[in-house]
Subunit: 327 residues, 4 copies
């Protein structure tokens, strides 16, 4: 399904090498000030260009094509699109003969019976995160004054990020990374028990981001090794403030008035120059594969702004859904 959300609902579409990628946001209230400029700061953070990121450079210029009028949202579906300009148009074969290990090439070909648009990963491409970032910008406005900040805290297993990336680049290899996200000023009580727990909604969206393979809230996996007497966060006052924050700001699935904190594990970019072996759909045998062109040595560098976006989207939806339930 290309939709996420109950009330702040997003519908994503597009392919890496087709005409465009885009997103329609349904449920945005009327009267929110919004222009293309509002997207630029976050889009810039996601953009290729830093050391360790792919040299393919798109303009990544957002176009608001529906739902805005005279600089304000109208309350009608809000659509933002990004033209794909920098596209290599030669290749119209439907077949990737040598599917790249770690990529969607093979499963997409099998699942969609060879009809998938495989160029640049098609609908599976990381380029779709452009649309998530755009939806995140709108969501951030809706949940103001909630402040969200994500950053890369490790690459290749240690905090010396520049060095890890440089080493990977030189080796024609790639490295994974760890991204931490914190959000403040969230009122107590957003989220629902069970299926709409804050963890459920954020995790659902986080795993929609290519390359994410793990998520943990508060103490997370460390909690599995703790005692209750260590892990329980003593409540200090009527606002719900706690002395420690092992819960990561979420109790019983609801925000508890403390800082929301979680981390996601980003696997290393699958595209590497190092020689690999794979099964050839053409020859029916295992063959050597050398992926040409340059790619992100550390895709995790571009992930923080995407994680901020999905956090904002999740919170906007939970906030608006809760608003509905007032007598």
């Amino acid at each position: 399904m290309n939709t996420f959300g109950r009330t702040y609902r997003i519908h994503i579409f597009g392919e890496s090498h087709g005409p465009l990628v885009g997103i329609t946001i349904d449920g945005c209230p009327p009267g929110l000030p919004l222009t293309e400029d509002d997207f630029m700061a976050d889009l810039e953070r996601r953009k290729a260009g830093a050391v360790g990121t792919t040299p393919r450079k798109e303009d990544d210029l957002p176009e608001i094509v529906t739902g805005c009028f005279n600089g304000f949202t109208t309350g009608a579906p809000l659509t933002i699109q990004f033209a794909n300009k920098n596209v290599r148009s030669g290749d119209y074969s439907n077949l990737i003969k040598t599917p790249r290990p770690g990529h969607s090439d093979f499963v997409a070909y099998k699942r969609f019976e060879g009809f998938n648009d495989h160029r640049g990963g098609g609908h599976f491409s990381g380029r779709l995160t452009l649309a998530l970032v755009a939806a995140g910008v709108v969501a951030k406005k809706l949940i103001s004054p909630v402040a969200i900040q994500a950053r890369l805290i490790q690459a290749g297993g240690n905090p010396n990020i520049e060095e890890a990336v440089k080493n990977a680049l030189e080796a024609g290899d790639s490295v994974g990374g760890l991204v931490e996200c914190k959000a403040n000023n969230i009122p107590l009580g957003w989220g629902e028990p069970l299926f709409d727990s804050v963890e459920s909604v954020i995790a659902h969206l986080a795993f929609a981001v290519p390359a994410i393979k793990g998520i943990e809230f508060g103490s997370g996996f460390a909690a599995a090794g703790m005692k209750g007497s260590q892990h329980n966060d003593p409540i200090l006052d009527d606002s719900g403030k706690t002395a420690s924050n092992n819960a990561g700001g979420i109790t019983g699935g609801l925000t508890n008035g403390n800082e929301l904190i979680f981390r996601v594990a980003v696997k290393p970019t699958s595209s590497i120059s190092v020689k690999q072996s794979t099964f050839s759909l053409e020859s029916g045998k295992v063959e050597e594969l050398e992926v040409k062109g340059r790619h992100d040595a550390c895709i995790a560098l571009r992930v923080p702004v995407v994680i901020e976006a999905i956090t904002a989207i999740a919170l906007a939806d939970l906030k608006m859904h809760m608003q509905a339930r007032i007598i």
Copy 2:
């Protein structure tokens, strides 16, 4: 929202100390053989009774009240209910004066403006997982021959589980645990890119289970420290079998024909006998709290069958949703 799923849809309801907990399954095909007996093995695994689990013993007898006829599902909504028999009925106060740290007591009271049924955690109670286990039993039938097995692989941070639990019990404390789940015989291609990735759907449901604070697929958090040349799983043949399984059986959000493998972190039970401090809603001051009665010293002992259930529910939904999309 009390609903999960696109096609195999479950609706959960009930409270720990109300008349019952239950679940309605919508989308179950007609003709599936089903009787109350089919639920007993999994319910038994979830049940209290082992060392380290709560001594509250319910019969936990499932009643199929709608959607079955003459031993087969009818295709109409299938409802399974569990009466709450072992309920302490005295307490009808709406106020938990001293909300327990780590519990939903405080946030539930604030969010639902004091109208929540707080008794035994109410709708936030782990007792609701009974309903998930029931829906899991039906789902397991629907995805046969997929075989799912989850088990507790660590408690308190190490594999010596019995000892960790015993120590916690003696100290009036509790310990967290790590549960690993594996599923085999899943065809290649279940799931969707982006919002219905296998990781997204499983994670969404996993975080609906009280006490889960982290999830990782395949190499998971370790992947954040790996290089691409280590993490990429070489494809060996036309079935998609790979030489390693760092992806945990999921590529591009879709099952890739290999074993599905993931782990969840279970925090230690919040209810402990050890003295704690908390904010009293009555006095408006921080007070000492001593939780009476005995509780699960290691709730993680009861989690594996719940994790199997949510895995089956997720896979049943993805399987059925995919079936719909055939010309």
Copy 3:
């Protein structure tokens, strides 16, 4: 799908001759006063007993089994159930050999491959409207001070209702009817353009009620024969009040501040004593059929309270959904 609604969401379940019929309401806010007594007036109106209605008399006693505590809704899923007490238990055959014309017997048997619970119509039974009436009672509270009133304005094609019913009864036959529903005090602006137009949502629910075969809003079918200069309702003031009400209180899919008015056509009860012919699934030939027992000679007599209920459900959902979309 057994669910209706975006925000005020209802999940229906049950069969005519199974243990129970019920409904779970998700999205009801906490703090709404609610007891079983609140349902009795509307249930009484739906109940069998009047001249022309079936002599099967159930107690139709509602049980609130989840989501209420100390006389108030808690904000958790609210489930109301009705035990089926007056059930003839002898017949456990899966086969209706001579499917009744106009009934679901034949299509249900074919669609559900013979696994459907055919007894008393099973999940297709009009008895399921009990659950709708219950959900309507809660919805009416949520949209107060909106006042809804539906009544039967014709039976058998003319307003002399008692006589038409009496004649049908004497002939062992049945008659259809016309029900008109009016709702007042609805604020301007509920509903959405396109898929959530007020007409769309009400019509969707109205056709979920067995026996409804037509619906029209305002001038309805008469509008097809009118000129624009006749049909357009002149706006009189800033509240949106119009001089005429051909639109039935809905413009552009939204409530326009005037009385909401619509009519539904109720077909005559299918069960009649008059001899009919049908295809026998046993003999494979057309045979004569005589339906025994007594049935509703005019099911339309019991429909008004159901139509009020679905109107309230539709309006509650639209109201709450709109509330969500406020900055």
Copy 4:
């Protein structure tokens, strides 16, 4: 909500005088042959140009911007867009001072707090039906060999359609119309009891089409005046064929193997040249209004292809949803 459908899901967006209107279809299987040419015949039928329709002529050229590759659907979200070329760009005022009777002008202004794009009706415009027609073209392919045909059978209350339109044109007035839709070759058993009855789903979509104010299936409103012995359709054979078709091809909410037949009432176009009075938002008084420009004298002329489209969309969704529910 801008979404309709469970499995064949459509998301609509756009405004009459913005850059474009469009639709994203989620759930379309891979491998369906599809090019822009496939849309032309149905778009032509909807297009302005015939006597009695508006002289605004758009090219109405569809662009498939996502979800197609090399002439086949890929299984990814399928987006079709229509640029708005013939747009009068001068007017950027947010205020319609004299809201037209029968139009959405007034309610849209009030509901969306003046932020709505009022130009040409904005998101409320009949131009949005372009997107429905496009989604209908794809749906028709998916349900082949089901054959759907809708036609205008009355205008202004009688079958002499040309004359009624001519008279209205000459008077600067407009007329309503009656559209009948028939669909053949539908297998028995599509649809669900209750909320997904065929009537519910078709009616929901029909009332999303501007100007529709009534719908009836089979004998429809006439059934309200009939006896059961007249209305019941005798079953003739094992395929479900019936001797009469008062049910309009639907029993118990499911298709019954006979021709699906229903009618919709189309109100007269609201825009007329005849003088009318309305409340002026500027002066705060009732004023005379003369709508300039020419409009559709009988919008019903353009409705049949839209009704075919929504019927195909409804049936595609029900078909695919049923396919999901097979063991």
